[in-house]
Symmetry: C2
Subunit: 478 residues, 2 copies
């Protein structure tokens, strides 16, 4: 019976993390004790024992789990654990960790260690690491590759980060169309193993042009004497290296793909995309959406220095401070009005705030519809009309409630009416910018999810103060 | 050569959408013309021609593409297109469309049509549709199932929406461990086709207990006389139907899985989860995160009525209005102060706004770290200290800038100092609640991503006004 050396799988990596932390704590305790010189040598042994246990533990873990654990450890124990990981696994782990943590690991490695780690990877993986590696390391790695691999690496590094080419790998199994399944089976048996995520074989001609695909599924259920050409699927999805990765991801989702061929303009097979890469891409995209909404420029290593984390957050705070200064000056223009009727100062944040929330809802709906390709010239007008109608309805309902609130507090009917009208107008303004900002950003080829919200708030804040205080100046102050 | 009747794949569904819209426009034009009674009969034909063309076009499309198109059409043309779709494809399309749009399609179908559509689906798919189907339809469907299928349907419907059981299907191919690969291959050849996403066969004993898995990969590269037991992988990830779906999704991501077996407490194989379901789950989760951040309770059919969409957004606006009212009363408590020093009214939104943004960044980081399992008792304190340090740094930097701004405008050093201190204190308050809210929500078993932001804003707004106006009352007014 064959022994199985696959690392352990686990559904919950937290248990492993806690075990590692216990071993690290034990080690740290020993460490602190051995600083007292009078202690006997047995402590040295105890200290080593903890590290041995930790090394053993790490040996049983899947690289992806080690990556999770490294991300959840502060810098110092992280580098201790990283030291204990077997050198031959360094590469696969570097591929798995987040960009921020990868930086901290790479910084701790020597040039030789890095070259050795990179050399164990596939060319598409080296391309993923490349931006983080020192130039000297990349030069050494490049020298160690075969001509074909160099070509692949150069190709993989040449594509934009959001292009299909950046998701592509080169582990295709190709066959010819004029052979029988029997021949294909014999050919496959010469492999030690098939590349991961091989759910189909790619049928190519002499010039590497893609003729079709043969799902393993069909290979398995059909008779060995059948010819490939009789079974292969011709009308399959083919990607192009310069296509948008997001579009490829949507195709994987819609058609439930496991792998898809990538062909160049001449129809030649240049690589394939597999579902695991797509899953990582989707997760990364959705995370960066959430981070961008909060104005975080990039993923943070949660244990990075205060300084580094603060810098990640500054651009956003600075932008918001600018719009807040501007809104402040709008209020400043109405100081005389506020002096005469100080109630206005208590009510004005309500007008600005609710319109900001409502506009944000509109923008979210529009951005999502844009991403799903649901907005066409034919239906854009209808959508815009609908968002205005909702804003008007909300303006009347919540503006009415707010007007009543203002009336009950200050016993002034005109104040209540000014409040209601200001809410209504500001919600309509919010709807307008909530629609226009993402549409314009899309038109100018920018990602509508980035930065929409700071512009929105700028408009609904300043606009809200202006509308409310302006109406009040006209109708309440004489 | 075999003909291939697979529907067309496309990387970009927008082209199809636009073609469908053109045909619909042509049809609508004809329609409006035939309302004029004097027109000759040839228009009747023209009208039918557009519909025929449309029907033909739809016939060539993949169900998932039709689903996209239905989602991008206003109600009326949507139902027209739905009419033209061949009845036998209704089921697969209903599975693909979003919940909101599914509702509109189901409302247009008769009981018989629904029963017929549901009967063509797998039991796990029927379970997905079940919440949207009328009870009478479900009764009819249930009656039409075999005993085994009824059992499966009952099981599938019994799991919580966020449990692995809800992602599971029942299309497993099982084999025994004491047979040779030759026998397995012969067994597979008796299938017309293997279930989608079959990348491994499940090895079970007489009692259906899972013994291991045999990847097709190994089946293909090894010699036919090898026994299954010698190749099967024993240490594989197994899911349980009551596990959290999110955890299973993370396992799929970490280990790059295509399928995984689901076993019950006794180790019996009850189903499997495949990567396409996981991809849909991840996408749905990330979308609902973004929607929840904007306070949208559920996905909106962008063509739903104004009334329906408004209701989806109301809870959020109402909550925010309440917190805004409260903040307004906080300001109201300082009316005397503001009357004496109206500059305060212009500056107070800055204090509240920037702290809100900064607290939001903190919460986003904490929620993400919680989701990735990076926060353990061992490192929580360190993280909290770090967020406070960042808030203090930001408070000094941006508070300093804002204090300078206040000083330059109003030529008052005390005002500048009050501004800076208020910013600093409010940013620290923001960090405190930005950390505590998600941690407490997690502790009480709630999703920390939902509703955090409304609580945050409530604290940073009211707190900011109170701190700033309070300090001003103490130090500026005499």
């Amino acid at each position: 019976m064959m022994e199985n050396h696959e690392p352990h799988y686990t559904e919950n990596v937290q248990e492993h993390l806690q075990q590692v932390q216990r071993l690290l704590d034990g080690h740290a305790l020993m460490e602190s004790m051995t600083h007292q010189p009078e202690l006997p040598q047995s402590h040295e042994l105890g200290r080593a024992r903890h590290l041995d246990e930790l090394r053993e533990k790490l040996g049983t873990l899947h690289p992806a789990d080690i990556a999770c654990i490294l991300e959840a450890l502060p810098i110092e124990p992280r580098l201790l654990v990283w030291e204990l990981v077997k050198a031959e696994r360094d590469g696969e782990i570097l591929i798995e960790v987040s960009d921020a943590v990868r930086e901290s690991l790479i910084a701790s490695m020597s040039r030789n260690e890095l070259v050795e780690a990179a050399e164990r990877l596939d060319t598409d993986e080296i391309a993923d690491l490349a931006p983080d590696l020192p130039q000297a390391v990349m030069r050494d790695v490049f020298k160690s590759l075969s001509v074909e691999e160099r070509e692949q690496l150069r190709a993989a590094m040449s594509y934009a980060e959001d292009a299909v080419g950046a998701l592509m790998d080169f582990d295709m199994v190709t066959i010819r169309e004029d052979v029988t399944l029997e021949v294909v089976s014999r050919y496959l048996r010469r492999f030690d193993e098939l590349p991961d995520h091989t759910d189909q074989l790619f049928v190519v001609d002499r010039d590497d042009r893609l003729k079709g695909v043969l799902p393993l599924n069909l290979l398995l259920v059909n008779e060995p004497e059948t010819e490939v050409v009789a079974l292969m699927i011709v009308d399959t999805i083919t990607l192009h290296p310069d296509d948008k990765a997001e579009q490829a991801a949507q195709a994987f989702e819609r058609y439930d793909l496991v792998s898809a061929p990538v062909v160049d303009e001449e129809g030649k097979l240049v690589g394939r995309v597999t579902v695991n890469t797509v899953v990582d891409f989707i997760r990364a995209e959705s995370e960066s959406d959430v981070l961008n909404l909060a104005g975080l420029r990039e993923e943070e290593d949660i244990f990075a220095s205060v300084w580094k984390s603060a810098k990640n957050r500054w651009l956003w705070l600075a932008l918001n401070l600018c719009t807040a200064f501007f809104a402040s000056r709008v209020i400043g223009g109405f100081e005389n009005t506020i002096e005469k009727f100080v109630a206005l100062a208590t009510l004005m944040p309500i007008v600005a705030g609710i319109a900001g929330n409502s506009a944000n809802q509109t923008t979210t709906i529009i951005i999502r519809a844009l991403a799903l390709g649901q907005i066409t010239p034919a239906n854009a007008r209808r959508l815009i009309a609908k968002e205005f109608a909702i804003a008007a309805l909300n303006g009347l309902v919540w503006g009415g409630v707010a007007g009543l609130f203002a009336y009950m507090l200050y016993k002034s009917v005109p104040l209540g009416l000014v409040m209601t009208s200001a809410m209504l107008l500001n919600l309509l303004l919010g709807a307008l910018v909530g629609i226009m900002i993402p549409l314009l950003m899309q038109r100018f080829g920018r990602d509508p999810a980035i930065g929409s919200s700071v512009m929105l708030t700028a408009v609904t804040d300043s606009g809200g103060f202006f509308i409310f205080l302006g109406l009040a100046t006209i109708f309440l102050i004489r």
